[in-house]
């Protein structure tokens, strides 16, 4: 089996880039699941909404501002969803939460279908970020570099907020023991709202970051939600660091897998999740949530 | 040796929950463990019943070593236990709670096609009567009063037809009138079924009312043991329970 080193390295970089998108998508979810113990299967469909929203936003305001606007839009939608729906099912069994998520998925999917139609849409890569860097015959897309840099920056910011600010320690306290945090006088409901908004906003960020690389098609949410939860499980519920590592691993394994077993590359995610759950259900850094 | 514990030890990090406890229980007696909160009584019960594994030490029952075996195995050998924080089946009725336990004890839990409600009716009702819940058999266990939940909790352990019954604070949180009922059940158990009872309690009156032997535990270690009269008159015990009135 002869595979060139350059091909491997090329796929490696692609894998890192893919992993970054996975991280952005899963980071919000791991917070929501870890902090609020909510199984939000609708996270994928928010992401899809974000991708579709990019078309309007980029057309009206350009790509750059899109990076602020799309996450913002989605944060607002997240706020509405939390306030109107998810707030009422914190204490409910996961099965009920799943059911509610399914309802939201139906609604949002149909809205997307009605507004944008059923044909796939593609977003043009912004001119500034088109093209490749070539290092020792390895081709790295400029866009990849951009996504990786951006995500690392976001991850660093998240770490800083979580571990060096007061609000961050409050959020972490809620992950460990929400009831004690209430007793400590913290308005947990507001924290939850914030976390949900940030989580959904991050999905929006993942959406605009991914938009130029993929085509927007109905049903994309179904695939992505499994990836997102896979990352959450492998990384550990509530752990941003875990999500980062897990997302990287999954992204890289998927891309390298294409070289070895192109037919079954997509199965690697599922195999990783199965192995992770067998060996260490709580994930890399999480504690068993719920 | 009917039932004995030898040098049982369990530390949780720096906390010496159980620190070299040795005691023994004779067949047919009602034996109590007392000690202030945090003395290690519940941990001791957890160690004996296999809920957690000891760091070192031995538990023997009927000359067989059962240290650290799986709770299911220990229950099968004839040691049953009730929990301080009741672990009943809240969405099942009282009758169903008891029925599940009775059927499991009869080894029927693998019967996939029989009609559970037709088995052992007499026995279930008898058990419900003996724990004093006859009028409540169709009530959902989660809706019972606290005292009645305690009774059901004891009932589930009794359903195992144990040779040794470990009761972890069976009257915790109960009003005085309710405690009498549970005590009566305990006494009846020993007389009628020849069950040996190992009781862990906080309420002195309960202890002095029913016990044959009392073991005093403090900071994870056995301080002393003896009959009720001996313990009552013991100064060390009094000191441990500062402010306790006899």
């Amino acid at each position: 089996m002869e595979i060139e080193i350059s091909a491997i390295l090329g796929q490696l970089v692609d894998g890192v880039g893919r992993g970054m998108i996975y991280f952005l998508l899963a980071a919000g979810l791991t917070l929501i699941f870890g902090v609020m113990n909510i199984v939000n299967f609708a996270h994928g469909v928010f992401y899809m909404l974000g991708v579709y929203l990019c078309f309007i936003v980029v057309r009206e305001f350009g790509f750059g501002p899109g990076f602020i606007l799309v996450p913002l839009f989605l944060a607002v939608i997240g706020a509405i969803a939390e306030f109107g729906l998810f707030r009422r099912i914190y204490k409910a069994e996961h099965a009920m939460q799943l059911l509610l998520s399914t309802g939201v998925i139906y609604i949002v999917s149909d809205v997307v279908r009605l507004v944008w139609g059923v044909s796939p849409l593609t977003l043009e890569m912004p001119a500034l970020l088109k093209g490749f860097f070539s290092i020792h015959s390895i081709l790295i897309t400029k866009y990849n570099v951009f996504v990786i840099s951006l995500t690392v920056l976001i991850a660093a910011v998240m770490f800083f907020i979580l571990y060096r600010t007061k609000i961050g320690s409050v959020i972490r306290a809620c992950t460990v023991d929400p009831e004690m945090t209430i007793c400590a006088g913290i308005n947990v409901h507001r924290v939850f709202l914030l976390v949900f908004m940030v989580g959904t906003g991050l999905a929006g960020l993942a959406a605009i970051a991914a938009a130029p690389m993929i085509s927007a098609v109905l049903g994309m949410d179904a695939q992505m939600i499994i990836v997102a939860f896979g990352v959450v499980i492998v990384g550990g519920a509530g752990s941003i660091g875990g999500a980062f590592i897990a997302a990287l691993v999954i992204g890289i394994v998927e891309c390298l897998g294409i070289l070895i077993l192109p037919q079954f590359a997509e199965a690697f995610l599922y195999i990783i999740v199965v192995i992770s759950l067998l060996l260490r259900p709580s994930g890399l850094f999480g504690k068993l949530a719920g | 040796m009917f039932f004995a514990v030898k040098e049982l030890r369990k530390w949780f990090g720096g906390v010496k929950a159980v620190n070299g406890v040795s005691l023994h229980v004779n067949r047919g007696e009602i034996c109590s463990i007392i000690g202030p909160n945090g003395a290690g009584k519940t941990t001791l019960f957890n160690l004996i019943t296999g809920f957690i594994k000891p760091d070192s030490g031995e538990v023997t029952f009927l000359d067989e070593e059962i240290t650290g075996r799986h709770p299911k195995v220990i229950t099968e050998k004839g040691i049953a236990r009730s929990f301080q924080i009741v672990k009943i089946f809240p969405r099942l009725t009282v009758y169903d709670n008891v029925m599940v336990a009775v059927l499991a004890q009869q080894g029927k839990s693998w019967d996939l096609f029989g009609q559970a409600k037709k088995y052992a009716r007499g026995e279930c009702h008898q058990l419900i009567k003996s724990i004093g819940l006859s009028g409540e058999s169709r009530r959902l266990a989660g809706q019972l009063s606290h005292g009645n939940q305690n009774r059901l909790e004891v009932g589930l352990a009794v359903a195992m037809k144990p040779k040794v019954l470990l009761l972890d604070e069976p009257t915790a949180g109960m009003a005085v009138e309710e405690k009498a009922g549970v005590l009566a059940t305990i006494g009846q158990m020993t007389k009628e079924q020849g069950c040996t009872i190992f009781l862990c309690e906080h309420d002195m009156r309960v202890i002095f009312e029913v016990s044959d032997t009392v073991w005093v535990v403090h900071n994870g270690e056995v301080v002393t043991h003896g009959t009720v009269a001996e313990i009552r008159g013991n100064d060390t015990v009094r000191k441990i329970y500062l402010g306790e009135k006899n």
Partner: protein, 314 residues
Amino acid sequence: MRLSPRSVWVIAVVVLCGLIALPFIVPMFWINLLTEILILGLAGMSVNLLLGYGGALPFGHAAFYAAGAYAAAVLLKKTALHPAAVLIVSPFIAMALGAILGFLIARLYRFYYAMMTTAFSMLVWTLIRKLPSITNGDDGITGVKVMDALTGVNNIYFFCLIVVGLCVFLLWRIVNSPFGWSLRAIRENSVRTTFIRIDVVKHRYVAFVVSSFFCGIAGMLYVVYSHGTFPDYAYWTKSADLVMVCILGGMLTFWGPIVGAAVLTILHTLTTSITMYWPLVIGCIICLVVLLLPDGVIGRLEREQVQGENEIEK
């Protein structure tokens, strides 16, 4: 609303007679609908054995549904085995998968259990799509003829009615057996059950395997009904549908899944013919059900019944 067990059985008999008489009364369209409801209801009941009675969250039963379907379709189309043998063997293939997955989830609970089942079923989905030599890959298998006796809407309907009826009867016995009650106890307090001599891990495993068997039967029946099978039968959204059907109808009740299946199927059919916004409608209905009727349709009735019985004692 109080229903004595006697009345429930009377209603059941009446309903049964109605079901048998229907093909002679109503147009074919409704018979097909009913067949789909029966099959979906059976799949739902298999899931509910674990969800409602076992207190777990099985989110990958599409794998067994598809396994039963693909086993039937592949064996019928590609081998010369007698159709009756194929129909009997197919659920066992699903059950074999169940035996494997049951082992993987042995010590997992709640969401982690769910994710394991989902990951496993997605693996099955991938395998189905990527082994075209056996399964025809993404195209699925169509034009599966079972046997002459099983052609025609009415014949298929009666066959499904009989098989589902038999399965429902078996599930009824299982659920009300000491095993079934042990499952319920495990659901209520899995720690306690260990202390009353119930081996929690083994009981959950057996329940899982039994559940996968009945789900495989449902998949097999669907091939009989629709003469084909597709990879999407193993996709996680199908598993979600099965769970949804249980919760809609009431997961703590026996008949809940069938009621949920009826509600979902009829709603789907009705709304698709009236409006093209059916997902929107369904989505809103689901949200309303979760927020207002957390016990599902039947569950609400049963809760009142139990409370009614309790009141009589006072």
